[in-house]
């Protein structure tokens, strides 16, 4: 029995590669299922969200311009860093109500999922791109490109694997993003931000906020600098609100309302493709020698 007083962590938000507190100065209390206080979390504001979108936009050119191979290495590095901090995540997951076995499973799955998407970074393009056999004398091909800045509200349950299962395909595909952590189980999200911050991931590629879904949800849909928004609950009112506000600038809306995040079914290159645009390019082919030329 030691007399040493434990040092508690201050849970902050993650914007542009920094860990500020919310500009609003507001907090809310994250509790265990039994009602014990776990931490004071930042109650992020609309302004925090705007700052995060700004950071994500600023980081987009650099991140989407990275070599796919390099993105793969960085995702792998995130997995390595996560592996090293397993104990901390298991501890937090248990505090948030998981059994030891479930917590172990969730962290292991999260690490493996990052490895899985790390491998996809330089492969999905060949799955989803095409050379198109047009009838005229043109070379015509379609490639996938990242949509841009994606805002996503992470699943409320499975606060770690859910978050990872969104972030990994979004950034593997060259997008940057702003995530809102699970409201009731926000601890792992912030700790995961610390992992990201020590993984060679450029600041601003992933931004993580904590706060109230009901307060921030409209901004995740109506911000005019977002290209896409993603929602993971089956709440019909919220889905309608998001889709309505998304129409302001014809945002893409991606709804994952019935995914079993812990399962391997919830990983595939199609998740990457959900956040890609298709670009088709045409160029004439000179026809020297004509169709009868023998070469």
């Amino acid at each position: 029995m030691s007399n040493r007083l434990e040092v508690l962590k201050t849970y902050k938000i993650y914007i542009g590669g920094q860990f500020p507190r919310t500009e609003s100065g507001r907090t809310y209390v994250a509790c265990s299922p039994k009602g014990d206080q776990l931490a004071n979390m930042c109650l992020s504001s609309r302004k925090d969200f705007r700052d995060a979108v700004g950071s994500a936009r600023g980081a987009f050119g650099g991140w989407s311009g990275r070599a796919a191979f390099n993105r793969g290495q960085i995702l792998y590095r995130i997995a390595e860093m996560l592996e090293g901090r397993k104990v901390q995540f298991v501890d937090e997951l248990i505090k948030q109500g998981a059994t030891k076995a479930n917590a172990d499973n969730e962290i292991n799955q999260s690490i493996d999922r990052l490895i899985y998407y790390s491998g996809w970074c330089d492969k999905y393009q060949q799955i989803f791109s095409s050379v198109n056999p047009v009838a005229s004398s043109h070379f015509n091909f379609s490639v996938v490109e990242p949509m841009g800045v994606v805002a996503a509200i992470a699943p409320q349950e499975f606060s770690l694997i859910g978050l990872v299962s969104l972030i990994a395909p979004i950034i593997a595909g060259g997008n940057t993003c702003v995530l809102l952590a699970s409201e009731k189980k926000p601890l792992c999200a912030v700790t995961f931000a610390e992992v990201l911050n020590s993984s060679d991931l450029p600041g601003g590629v992933v931004n993580i906020l904590t706060g109230k879904v009901s307060e921030l949800l409209p901004f995740f849909a109506d911000n005019m600098d977002l290209n896409a928004t993603c929602f993971c609950e089956s709440d019909e009112v919220a889905k309608k609100l998001i889709k309505e506000k998304a129409s302001l600038n014809v945002k893409r809306v991606i709804i994952y309302d019935s995914k079993k995040w812990i399962s391997d079914e919830s990983q595939s290159p199609y998740f990457i493709n959900d956040f890609q645009e298709v670009k088709t390019t045409w160029h004439p082919i000179e026809n020297i020698g004509g169709p009868k030329a023998g070469y």
Partner: protein
């Protein structure tokens, strides 16, 4: 620059202006006095009891009366589509489905001449374009997607894709038959049934397509074609038993549709407006580039969502490009769309002509300089001279808003970075054009321009195998190619 100076010979197009008329015959076109709604395989009178006129925009003469579908009619069509889906089409084997679609493609080819003539009479586009582009491309689109019907598992590995159900499709007036093909062909190939609404000024070729569908013995209700204006379209969008909305049209209406279906599980594809940048570098083959500019903005009177309506010319060749462009504009033949020599036909409607004229005023009020070719405008019908604006600022409305007419806004640039920034500075992102002889420059440009279709050293090319669709406010989803299938599949 020295090279550019040498290249100043004025191309002589003068003789082309004295061509004798070469009128296509109207006799192949069988147009009834009145058209009903095509529901459940039959032509049915509208319960609205209302009809509206469709006219030839080239001479303002009435061509036919078209039934106006009200809510009850829309419901009837959706019910027919639902029954056809549940009772038969859903279970029809993919390879049989394919054969029906192949049949439609073949009959369109057989009736190509009649369809071309009707397309031109009803819509005002030059017969040359209907004949050489719209109709053959429509047939090809059916032929292409027919072949996909029994191969879908290869398109989306590990996904086991299935059909959605009833697709509600709303199409514009700029490529009436072709847009119907773009919508119907992939929907049928993927096992869905269809309710299609053509634009109110151009219903005729869609109704001719209904006759072709009858002739092809497609089971009743698999394709229903209902005519009417915006309220008919709204009824279709809001019908609770529609699983998918596919819309091609303006960004304003696209946003309304996206909002309207927010509270539903309807899947949507939106192919909306554009304000494409067509970029000419000083090392481009300038004569070819000028042809590309002309084709980019004056094809189909500029009624093209992907029209190259913003021209960016590198400063060092600006003067010569502008001169060549003006010379070439003077050689364009504007007039009777039925004349095989005609380059620029009629504006699709009085309403659209008013919109274009409004922008011509706005452009001049904003301080831009207008130039129009000197061609003679026919006394009757709706026409607009090929128009360019110079001295245009990035913030001008004619550089920001879609005009959907033969009106080009010209700006200049010095560096690649500058033109990329200017070209991307728009809420739209449908298409773009790049003209340069340098390959590495092409790939730099094409990878940085935020647009769904990029033409390098060419413009306005389309093919059934080639995915088409926009970034940003130009919509989402793709039409054409393998990518066009996913819009109609549950995965």
């Amino acid at each position: 620059m020295a090279q550019a100076k040498k290249n100043t010979i004025k191309l002589k197009f003068d003789t082309a202006r004295n061509l004798a008329p070469a009128l296509e015959s109207k006799s192949v076109a069988k147009i009834a006095d009145r058209y009903e709604l095509f529901i459940n395989g039959k032509f049915e009178k509208p319960s609205s009891k209302k009809y509206f006129d469709t006219i030839n925009p080239a001479n303002e003469e009435k061509l036919s009366s078209i039934a106006e579908a009200n809510n009850a009619d829309v419901n009837k069509a959706v019910v027919a589509a639902r029954n056809a889906y549940e009772k038969g089409w859903k279970k029809t084997s993919p390879k049989e489905r394919a054969k029906y679609i192949f049949r439609i493609a073949r009959i369109i080819q057989e009736k190509a001449r009649e369809l071309s003539v009707i397309e031109t009479l009803d819509g005002g586009k030059p017969i040359r374009e209907s004949r050489d582009f719209d109709v053959p491309t429509a047939a090809n689109h059916f032929f292409y997607y027919a072949g996909w019907a029994d191969k879908l598992d290869y398109a989306f590995p590990n996904k086991k894709p299935t059909s959605l159900g009833v697709a509600g499709q709303i199409i514009p007036w700029n490529f009436p038959l072709l847009m119907a093909a773009w919508k119907i062909a992939p929907a049928l190939a993927t096992g869905n049934t269809v309710v299609l609404k053509p634009a109110e000024t151009t219903s005729l070729t869609a109704l001719k397509l209904a006759e072709i569908i009858q002739e092809a013995d497609l089971p009743p209700g698999v394709v229903n074609i209902i005519t009417g204006a915006g309220s008919t379209g709204a009824a279709l969008v809001n019908h609770p038993d529609v699983n998918k909305i596919a819309f091609t049209g303006s960004t304003d209406v696209g946003k309304i549709i996206q909002k309207a279906i927010a509270g539903t599980n309807k899947k949507a594809t939106l192919e909306l407006g554009g304000k494409a940048a067509n970029i000419i570098f000083d090392d481009a083959p300038l004569d070819q580039a000028v042809e590309g500019i002309i084709n980019g903005i004056f094809f189909n009177q500029g009624h093209v969502c992907c029209a190259g309506s913003r021209l960016f010319v590198q400063e060092s060749v600006y003067k010569i490009v502008l001169q060549k462009l003006k010379d070439r504009m003077e050689s364009l033949i504007l007039g009777d769309p039925m004349d095989k020599n005609t380059d620029i036909g009629a504006i699709n409607s009085k309403q659209q002509l008013d919109v274009i004229n409004k922008y011509l005023k706005i452009g001049q009020q904003e301080g831009a300089e207008i130039f129009q070719s000197a061609c003679v405008i026919p006394k009757k019908g709706f026409y607009c001279r090929p128009t360019i604006f110079t001295n245009v600022a990035q913030s001008n409305r004619i550089a920001q808003e879609e005009i959907f007419g033969p009106v080009l806004a010209i700006q200049t640039f010095r560096t690649e970075d500058e033109v990329i920034e200017k070209a991307n500075n728009t809420p739209f992102g449908l298409s773009a054009g790049v003209w340069t002889d340098k390959g590495s420059k092409i790939f730099n440009m094409t990878s940085k321009l935020k647009a769904g279709v990029i033409w390098a050293n060419t413009y306005n090319k389309f093919d059934p195998t080639s995915p088409f669709g926009g970034y940003k406010e130009s919509g989402f989803g793709r039409e054409g190619g393998l990518h066009g299938l996913s819009a109609y599949l549950k995965m």
